[in-house]
């Protein structure tokens, strides 16, 4: 770098003569003040523009990721989770309608109908809002298979009302379709939306190191120019440059403080979501195990014990998941599950004991479906309520933390743009005033 030496200008005097003298007799080792100021102007304009643009765009990208998470990805994640839950519940409800037979109240029939309606509106929401090809593919599969499923269930119920054994065969086929194709597509859609949400989280947690480096470079450059201008022109304070320096410094401090706070809120949000996801997995497994009980009773041995085997493995995963879960009301859910397993053993005894008359069936059905009877149906309902409350608590905490992350960053993007613009103007005015003295 060229050694800079202050020009001996008269204090407060006309700047023109020394500058002309300098330009007329350029010293090979001494930078011309005018050239230096011009170079500084270009460098500062470039740096400020870059820093302003980087901070504005970077923060805007984080804002947009947070906004996408809050308004698209998270709601879609909940919608896909509900599609899975409603499908599973329809599986259990259909078996219950068939089992209840001619005595079936309208309540359980309505539960089945509203499950299917909620699945349909969930599918419409995902089709309209989802962007992930995997989620759209999965949704398309459910849309294609759902009418087949409801037709099979309808046939099962119509046949059963006439006491035709083929009704139970249709129900088994419907349930197999739901459990293989429909539920796996629902899981695929949910996984895709979860991945989308993870992507938003990663984008929102981006490190602002580049932006901070540029901002610091701006402050340094502004400082250097002011030192240079002071030495060459002996002016103590250049108001334009000083304002620019203060503003950029403030922006750097703001960015430096807001980002860690936002990342803290994001980490809390991620923790809540992880807890909620684990609880949802538990709840879905519990619903499937409950469906196994109902379908097993409806199949009455014709499934060759398939539903009972599925109950055993699924309730083992419920226990495992429940042991790892935490959240409000989990202790009660664990207690309910123990009661459920005990009640299930009673139910199996009722089902596998050779039947003397219809009373064993009536009693098994009552244990499974009546909320009043102290049986596995009521205990399942208690556990499901606990789990669902815990899920809702965690999901609402997630949304709160996400909102905090959003408010931590709020205003930063536009402030960065304004600061960059004002600082640019200030620096331009400040340097231009010095340059004009050389015309």
């Amino acid at each position: 770098m060229t050694v800079l030496k202050s020009p001996r200008t008269a204090p407060g005097g006309s700047p023109a003569p020394p500058a002309r003298a300098a330009s007329r007799l350029p010293s090979p080792r001494r930078l011309d003040t005018r050239t230096g100021l011009r170079a500084a102007a270009i460098a500062i304009v470039a740096l400020l523009a870059a820093a302003g643009l980087a901070t504005t765009l970077g923060t805007a990208a984080q804002d947009s990721a947070l906004g996408h998470a809050a308004t698209r990805a998270e709601p879609l994640g909940v919608v896909t989770e509900e599609i899975y839950r409603d499908l599973s519940d329809a599986d259990a409800a259909a078996a219950q309608v068939l089992l209840a037979g001619p005595e079936s109240g309208t309540a359980v029939q309505q539960r089945y109908d509203s499950d299917i309606q909620r699945v349909s509106s969930g599918l419409a929401a995902v089709s309209a809002d989802a962007t992930s090809p995997s989620a759209l593919d999965a949704t398309g599969e459910i849309i294609a298979d759902l009418p087949v499923y409801t037709r099979l269930v309808g046939t099962a119920l119509a046949d059963s009302r006439q006491n035709l054994p083929v009704g139970a065969a249709y129900l088994r086929e419907a349930s197999a379709l739901l459990r293989t194709r429909l539920l796996s597509a629902a899981r695929q859609a949910h996984d895709a939306e979860t991945a989308d949400l993870d992507g938003d989280g990663a984008a929102a947690a981006a490190d602002p190191l580049g932006e901070l480096a540029l901002l610091v470079a701006c402050v340094a450059a502004l400082g250097l120019v002011q030192v240079f201008a002071f030495r060459r022109t002996n002016r103590m304070v250049n108001p334009g440059l000083a304002v620019a320096t203060v503003l950029v410094l403030a922006l750097a401090v703001w960015t430096g403080l807001a980002t860690p706070a936002e990342r803290g809120a994001l980490a809390r949000a991620a923790a809540h979501r992880q807890t909620a996801d684990a609880l949802v997995a538990t709840e879905l497994a519990a619903i499937q195990a409950h469906g196994d009980e109902l379908l097993g009773l409806a199949a009455r041995g014709e499934d060759l014990g398939g539903y009972e085997r599925d109950f055993t493995s699924t309730s083992a995963s419920v226990s495992r998941l429940l042991a790892a879960d935490h959240g409000s009301g989990i202790a009660d859910a664990r207690a309910a599950q123990q009661d459920w397993l005990a009640d299930h053993r009673n139910l199996v005894e009722l089902e596998t004991e050779p039947q003397a008359d219809n009373s064993a069936n009536t009693r098994a059905l009552l244990l499974l479906t009546s909320p009043a009877a102290a049986g596995s149906g009521a205990v399942f309902a208690r556990m499901d309520t606990d789990l669902r409350n815990a899920v809702e608590t965690e999901e609402s905490s997630y949304r709160t933390a996400l909102g905090e992350a959003q408010s931590d960053l709020s205003g930063l993007a536009s402030a960065a743009a304004v600061v960059a613009a004002v600082a640019l103007a200030g620096a331009a005015v400040g340097i231009n005033r010095r340059l004009r003295e050389y015309r």
């Binding site: 270009i42 962007t131 298979d145 054994p165 083929v166 379709l177």
Partner: protein, 345 residues
Amino acid sequence: MGDAVASGSVGMPVRRVRGVRWVLTALAVALCAASLTACGTAPAPVRAADGGAVPLPQGVRTVPPGPAGGVSVSGCDASLAPSGPLPQPGAMPAGSAMERIERRGYLIAGVDQDSYLFGYRNSSSDPHASPLVGFDIDFVREIAQAIFGAPDRVRYRIVTQAGRIPALQDGSVDLVVDMMTVDCERAKQIAFSSDYVDAGQRFLVDESSTVRGIGDLAGRKVCSATGTTSIQKLADPSYHIVPVAAVNWADCLVMLQQRQVDAISTTDLLLLGLQAQDPYTRIVGPQITFERHGIGMPMGEDDLVRFVNAVLERLRTDGTWAAIYTRWIGTRLGPVPPPPPAVYQ
């Protein structure tokens, strides 16, 4: 360095324009990257899904052609003759299998529960009604009547077609009354009562089907239940049929209604049970087998076999057999036949 910047400023106007353009382009790209949707990338269309196909019932498989044959009864269709008149109900001979059952308080019968007309769920909402009804169930009740003097002293255990012989072998049932075809292969594993009803294998097809008999079914899919003599018969390579084995008869009807098989084949009695569930089907073709049906009992329980044969003997002669046949089958397969004669060793 200073020179370079200074000389650069000479061509400033042109470069500035270019620079502005470049900055604008960069800005646009950056903005697009920041919000992908803003750039008008159309959402991917919902894929023409490969879903929507009607599934098969669970556990269905195609059976490869097997050795010719199926039912063979030559030399093993003779049961044990009754040893005198029936004992009084409630007074079974000491040490007999019947006395063991009597002491237990109920008979354990292995039956089917989705074999319409033969063994199926009772739709009655009376909790004390029999859980099952049908042709086979009536025979079970007659045997309970003979042991206890009460037809309700029965506990029913549901067995699948393939689970019948294992249930007898492991002692989880006293007897199986489930349209079991008497067959030499089975007679090596369990004991059969005398013939309680005769039937022959035929075909159930859709009303609109052009199939009139086994000759029209070459290369077509025909359903039967796993572990039955019917499916063995279908696997005979000379028929060129594609046998499809289902877990139970109702699954076969599901497949016929879904047009996944061209016919169902088993004895005309069981086909009648399926036909009664779907009036848009009909039973076609001559019988391709003649099958005797026996009540299955564990190997070696000779006293029980002789006792059951004595009960059957009574049912044949006192008109009960004809009443049961008329009640469940009637004249739908032709006039009510006489009871099949018993053949004893």
